[in-house]
């Protein structure tokens, strides 16, 4: 059974890229358009990993990750931040919020797969 991944990004292009990349190695990808949407989708599910953008309307990536970590059953789910910004302070903020790791856009599809596999085992 393939891994179940939730990808949260307000850019449809990015959602499609992540979805198709991970689907090509047999992962099942559910997509959400922003943090609020992501939390809604998480209400009835427990993915193996979450991939989240930072800059999003309604609820940004930091808020989303904090909210996910605040939910008991989701506190150990790996969350990868996918962002074009790679400044160290951004990483520090993402880490404070509870991010597991980060991937910088534009991403190498193989690297994305590899990273997801790394954090999910």
């Amino acid at each position: 059974m393939g891994l179940n991944i939730l990808a949260v990004d307000d850019s449809r292009t990015m959602r499609d890229m992540v979805r198709l990349t991970l689907a090509s190695v047999g992962m099942n990808v559910t997509v959400a358009e922003d943090g609020v949407h992501g939390l809604e989708l998480l209400e009835g599910s427990l993915p193996d990993a979450i991939i989240s953008d930072i800059n999003m309307p309604r609820l940004d990536g930091f808020g989303f990750i904090r909210a996910v970590r605040g939910i008991d059953r989701l506190r150990a789910v790996p969350i990868l931040v996918l962002t074009t910004e790679s400044a160290p302070e951004l990483r520090a903020r993402a880490r404070d919020a509870g991010a597991t790791g980060w991937i910088v856009k534009p991403f190498d599809p193989r690297k994305l797969v590899h990273t997801v596999q790394l954090v999910t085992g």
Binding site: L20, S24, L42, A76, I79, R95, G101, D108
Partner: protein, 728 residues
């Protein structure tokens, strides 16, 4: 990912770009109006950011480069270090226009457009002028597909084959969803490992400290592995663990520099050697390790499953969406459909309408009595068909907003070119019109807007002298009116200088020097071919396109254009358009046993023709005398070559409006009915036929030509119509 998938995403990316440009423009308009909030700035930033992100994935370097520099300035705006002054917003508008050019160039794979270097420089200049401007904090490598350009570049050369790694997680490692055993497993994948687990002398089993990690590991790794390979595995956790990586030789002499080794080498610590197999097994999802504090079973479950119990700690209250962007829920309720499929459906519905009309005719001819089940069923079928038709036409309908936004750009560019201050206000931009109508409206509208800027709005000095604000306003509005779309372009300029228009028309020989014209007639002179009031050809209007071309384009769409002007107050152009190009309201007429359709949009009135009303001019021309006016008179039958001379007896005339604003009277034998007809193009089979706009199929299955009255009365009497085998 397959090439097909990439092509599809690429196409989808450009669609998304258009949407993002729309939100960007909306947000800039809000900033421009001085109503911006932090979220408004965020919307602008996110739009540019998303465009950059997507463009990077496709290696669109020019687009990435431009978006990146724009984003950098926007970041200053977002951080509050730059004020959205009117001047700054104007520059952002210009930059947005150039960003749009870059997107289009990337899409069509053309050479990149002019870089917009001056606008970027001007924007970056604002940034430097801002008091607390900081050097660019964002780093981004716009070079196609690449992974994490931030990965540290380790200088240690590979070649050392044995490493000693001391690793002790902090609580933050587990809190952030990382998993020590997965890291050990990844290390095991690099080469041969010997792993020793360091357990504190007394494992604290107190629940209060259960979340504090207590284990550490010393791993000896042998293989063709560089330090960078090892560091990469620890990339996500360097800030949440104690880590020491050293060549085995160094470690062996006990001189490791940091405290990790020392802490782990505490005399009380009890080392356990772990076999690599056990690490791999332990890290396996199916066998959750008991040693990973903070990790619940649920976190490692392999598949999506319902939560064990509803959690109250779930979602925080969502922030109020302040963004003008559509709600994600609304977006989710739309699908993208290939236009070909929609057009196929439109065609099929057209066939259905024709079929229904034929069936209705057959049933009537069969002498079916009223109120029978068949007649009632047919009635319902008719209504249903009309509903389906309307519904399908709705699919092709699109809001005029993108079109209006392009006009905003035209205003910005045109006003800069002639040193005028002009603002475009739009109303009703959610009004929906057929996609093709919108596409074909773009050119005429562009020209009319340019015209308003060029001729309508006065220079700031003249406006101030007239007691008006220096900035002129052009209002572009769209609304639905009586089954048609009304588009109005209204400026608050000087109005039409009628004396001057008259003089020019006389000078050009368009009217007689002593012609008595009403104000409306003078205004309509603007639409005459060749008329141009520009005393010198300006950069804007000097494109050889007059208002006559605008009018022709609108007429070709089945539209009408009207003009109204008041001196000193302004000028208003009103364009009335059909909702769709697939069906047309027409008047079905008979001429010499032929059935023809005259578009209702061009008909002014119908009347009975009396011989007394006909005046002969010259050798063959005739005019109709109607209510004091003389209107050129044409016999449709003769004009179309159906007959040589007009048959005797009373006839009906149809008065039509012409493209040149004048009127013409067409003689027909009888008016059959007024009805909606499905337009079937002829040009694919016959090329352009003079005087004929298209054809339709009537209820009796016969083909009827749809006339183009303006063209018909303009072209020579001998037409190509004989070439068309008519069923009539």
């Amino acid at each position: 990912m397959s090439i097909d998938a990439m092509t599809e995403i690429r196409a989808s990316f450009f669609v998304e770009c258009e949407e993002l440009m729309e939100s960007l423009h909306d947000a800039l308009a809000i900033l421009d109006a001085g109503d911006g909030t932090d979220e408004t700035v965020n919307v602008v930033f996110r739009a540019v950011h998303s465009i950059k992100g997507g463009a990077g994935a496709f290696g669109l370097d020019a687009l990435v480069g431009f978006a990146h520099r724009l984003e950098t300035v926007l970041d200053e705006l977002r951080a509050g270090r730059l004020d959205p002054t009117p001047g700054a917003v104007r520059l952002f508008f210009q930059a947005a226009d150039m960003l749009h050019d870059h997107i289009r160039a990337a899409q069509s794979q053309d050479a990149p457009p002019p870089t917009g270097e001056d606008v970027l420089r001007a924007l970056e200049g604002l940034m430097q002028a801002a008091p607390q401007a900081e050097p660019e904090a964002v780093d981004f490598t716009p070079t196609g597909l690449s992974f994490d350009p931030m990965l540290p570049q380790w200088t240690t050369p590979p070649g050392t084959s044995e490493w000693t790694i001391r690793f002790r997680p902090h609580a933050g490692l587990y809190r952030s969803g990382n998993e020590a055993l997965l890291i050990l497993r990844a290390l095991a994948g690099l080469g041969d490992t010997h792993t020793t687990c360091i357990v504190p002398p007394a494992l604290a089993l107190d629940p209060a400290t259960a979340e504090q990690p207590q284990l550490g590991w010393i791993i000896t790794l042998t293989g063709d592995v560089s330090e960078a390979d090892i560091r990469e595995i620890f990339d996500f956790v360097t800030d949440v663990c104690d880590l020491d990586i050293s060549p085995a030789d160094d470690a062996a002499d006990g001189s490791a520099t940091d405290g990790v080794a020392a802490a782990m080498a505490s005399p009380d610590a009890i080392p356990f050697r772990l076999a690599p197999d056990s690490i791999v097994a332990a890290a396996n999802h199916d066998d959750p390790p008991a040693t990973s504090p903070g990790v619940g079973e649920a976190g490692l479950a392999p598949e999506l499953q319902p939560p064990p119990a509803p959690s109250n700690a779930a979602a925080p209250a969502p922030a109020q969406p302040a963004s003008p962007k559509a709600e994600p829920d609304a977006a989710a309720a739309t699908i993208r459909v290939d236009l070909d499929r929609v057009d196929r459906l439109v065609n099929l519905v057209g066939e259905l309408v024709i079929n229904q009309a034929m069936l209705a005719q057959s049933v009537t001819e069969a002498g079916m009595a009223e109120n029978t089940a068949v007649m009632n069923g047919l009635e319902e079928f008719m209504m249903l068909t009309r509903d389906i038709q309307d519904g399908v036409m709705m699919i092709r309908a699109q809001p005029v907003k993108p079109l209006f936004q392009r006009m905003a750009r035209i205003v910005r560019e045109a006003s800069t070119g002639v040193a005028k201050q002009v603002r475009l206000r739009t109303e009703g931009d959610q009004t929906e019109v057929d996609k093709t109508v919108i596409e074909r409206l773009s050119d005429p509208l562009t020209h009319m807007i340019r015209n308003s800027v060029d001729h309508g709005i006065e220079t700031p000095a003249r406006r101030l002298a007239a007691g008006k604000p220096a900035e002129g306003v052009i209002t572009l509005s769209a609304s639905h009116r009586a089954g048609r779309v009304l588009i109005e372009i209204c400026d608050d300029g000087a109005g039409i200088d009628r004396a001057r228009v008259r003089d020019i028309a006389v000078a050009r020989g368009l009217i007689a020097a002593d012609a008595q014209l009403t104000e409306a007639e003078v205004d309509n002179l603007l639409f005459l071919p060749g008329f141009s009031t520009a005393s010198q050809v300006s950069a804007l209007s000097g494109r050889g396109v007059g208002m006559d071309v605008v009018k022709r384009a609108i007429t070709a769409l089945g539209g009408r254009v009207a003009i109204a002007s008041e001196p000193g107050v302004g000028t208003k152009f009103s364009i009335s358009l059909p909702l769709t190009l697939a069906v047309l309201d027409g008047m079905v007429v008979r001429v010499a046993d032929q059935t023809l359709v005259v578009p209702l949009s061009s008909i002014v009135e119908t009347a009975t023709l009396t011989p007394q009303a006909i005046r002969r001019i010259g050798r063959s021309a005739e005019v109709l005398h109607i209510r004091g006016d003389l209107v050129p008179l044409f016999d449709l039958g003769a004009r179309l070559g159906f007959r040589q001379a007009r048959a005797a007896g009373d006839r009906v005339v149809i008065l039509t409006t012409q493209e040149d604003g004048g009127r013409a009277a067409l003689i027909v034998d009888a008016i059959m009915e007024q009805r909606q007809v499905v337009i079937k193009g002829l040009s694919r089979n016959y090329g352009r036929v003079p005087g004929v706009a298209a054809a339709t199929i009537l209820g009796d299955g016969k083909v009827a030509l749809i006339l183009d009255p303006s063209d018909l009365t303009r072209s020579s009497p001998q037409t190509a119509i004989d070439a068309i085998p008519l069923a009539g």
